[in-house]
C-alpha cells in the first residue's frame, strides 16, 4: 500500500511540475531586458565593432538556450550522432549564429520593440512574449519570443518573425541537408564550419 501511495504522490508531483505555469509579466520583463540591452548597449552604443561583437556574444550565450535549440534542430539525427558530433555541432551552431546575427546589427538601428503581452504555450514551462517592431512603411513586423523556464531561470528557445519560427526553419533545413548528405551529421558540421570562415572573411574585408 505504501508503494502505491508513493507512486501516486510521485505521479502527482511530476504532473504538478509539468503543468507549472510560467509567470507572464516576469517573462515579458526578461525579454524587455534583452531588447534594451541589445539596442542600448550594443546596436546604438558608440564602441568599436569588436567590442560590439564581444558584448553580443555574451548576451547571446547568457539569454539563449543554444544547447536546447541545437538539440532540437538536429531532429532525429541527434540520437544517431556520436557524443563528439553532438558537442561539435552545438559549438559550431552557436558560433554561426553569433557571427550571422552580429553581422546584421545595422538592420536594427533605430528600431524599438513594442510589447503586446504574452500568450500561453502548449509546452510545459514555456510562454510566448508578443512584440511588434514599427516599420517605415506599412504594418509593424510581428516578433514573438518563446521563453522557457527551468529551475527558475529563463531562456529564449525560439524567435518567431512574421509567423516564421527560426527553430523550425533550422530544423527543416538541417535535417533535409543531413538526409541528402553522404557524410550525415559530420557533413553538416563541415558545411557550417565553411559558412563561419566565409562570414569571418567577409567581415574582415
Amino acid at each position: 500500500m505504501k508503494k502505491i501511495l508513493a507512486l501516486f504522490c510521485g505521479i502527482f508531483l511530476l504532473s504538478g511540475e509539468a503543468m507549472a505555469e510560467i509567470n507572464g509579466p516576469k517573462a515579458e520583463d526578461f525579454i524587455k531586458k534583452i531588447t534594451t540591452q541589445g539596442i542600448e548597449e550594443i546596436i546604438n552604443s558608440d564602441v568599436s565593432q569588436e567590442e560590439k561583437d564581444k558584448r553580443f556574444e555574451k548576451l547571446f550565450n547568457e539569454y539563449l538556450d543554444l544547447d536546447f535549440i541545437g538539440r532540437f534542430v538536429l531532429g532525429r539525427y541527434w540520437k544517431t550522432a556520436t557524443t563528439a558530433e553532438r558537442e561539435e555541432f552545438i559549438d559550431v551552431y552557436r558560433e554561426l549564429n553569433i557571427k550571422t546575427w552580429s553581422g546584421r546589427f545595422d538592420e536594427f538601428k533605430g528600431k524599438t520593440f513594442i510589447f503586446k503581452g504574452t500568450s500561453p504555450s502548449n509546452s510545459a514551462g514555456q510562454i510566448f512574449v508578443n512584440t511588434e517592431v514599427p516599420m517605415e512603411q506599412g504594418a509593424p513586423a510581428k516578433v514573438v519570443w518563446r521563453v522557457k523556464e527551468t529551475k527558475g531561470q529563463m531562456k529564449v528557445v525560439d524567435i518567431i518573425i512574421e509567423n516564421v519560427s527560426l527553430a523550425i526553419t533550422a530544423r527543416n533545413e538541417y535535417t533535409a541537408f543531413i538526409k541528402n548528405s553522404p557524410e550525415g551529421v559530420k557533413g553538416l558540421i563541415n558545411n557550417l564550419k565553411g559558412k563561419i570562415s566565409t562570414n569571418v572573411q567577409s567581415t574582415d574585408k
Partner: protein, 262 residues
Amino acid sequence: MKKTHLTLLFAIFLASCATNPDGSKLDTSNETTLEAYNRAMFNFNYQLDKKVIYPVAKGYKKVTNQFVRDRVTSLFNNLDEPSYFVNDLLQGEIKESGISISRFLINSTLGLLGTFDVASGWGLERKKNSFDETMAKYCVPDGPFVVMPVLGPSTPRSLVGLAGEAYTSPLFWAFIDTDDGWVDVGVAGAAALKYVNLRAENEFLLQSLEEGSVDYYTTIKSSWLQNRQKYQSICSDNSEENATASYDFDFGYDEYNDEFEE
C-alpha cells in the same frame, strides 16, 4: 530595414542552390518527383536571379537613391489598393474597403500618382489583403507547395490569387484597353520595374538568408509555408485548431530518450 514581409520576399524569383560549399550538388535522389521538380525549378530561378535579375537590380540601385526607390515602392503599393478594396468587400470588411479605396483616390491625386502616401498621414493606414486570403477565409484548400518559373514558391491557391490580383490591377486595365504598342511596352516596363525595385530593396536580407543557409531551397520553402499558416486561422472550419498558434509546436524532449518529441 524594410519590413520583412516574408510572403512577398519569398515569392520573388529566388531559388535553391542546394549545393555544398565547394559547389557540388547535394544528393537528392531519394526525393519525390514533385520535390525533385521543385528543386530543379528553384535552381533555374536562382540562376536567373544571379545572372540577370540581381545584376539589373544592382545597377538600378547604383543609379537611384533611397528617396527615388521609396517613391517607386509607394507607387506600386498604391496600384495594389484596388485589389485590397475588392478583397475587403469579398470578406465583408466594409470599413476596410472604404479605407482602401479612399487611400487609392487620395494617393493617386494628392499623392502624385501614388508616389507619396498622403493617406497614411491622415490616419488611413495601409492594410494588405489578397485573393489568396479571401479564398483561405472561405476555406479553399491550399494545395501542394510548387515552385513556378520566375514567380518562385507557390501553391495552386496562391497562383489563383495572383491571377486575381493581376486582373484587379490598374496596370492590367491599361494594358488590355489599348491598341497602342507603346502603352503595352510601358506597362511591361512598369511590371519589370516593380520586381527590380523589390529585388533591390531586399538585397541584404536575401543575401544574409542565403549565407546562413546550408540548404537554401528548404530554408525558403519552410519559411514560406510557415508564413502561410497564418491563413489557417482565418478559415471558419478550423475554429478549434485556431486556439493554438501555428508556431506553438511541442518544444520539449524526453530527457531519458535524448530525443525531441515529434
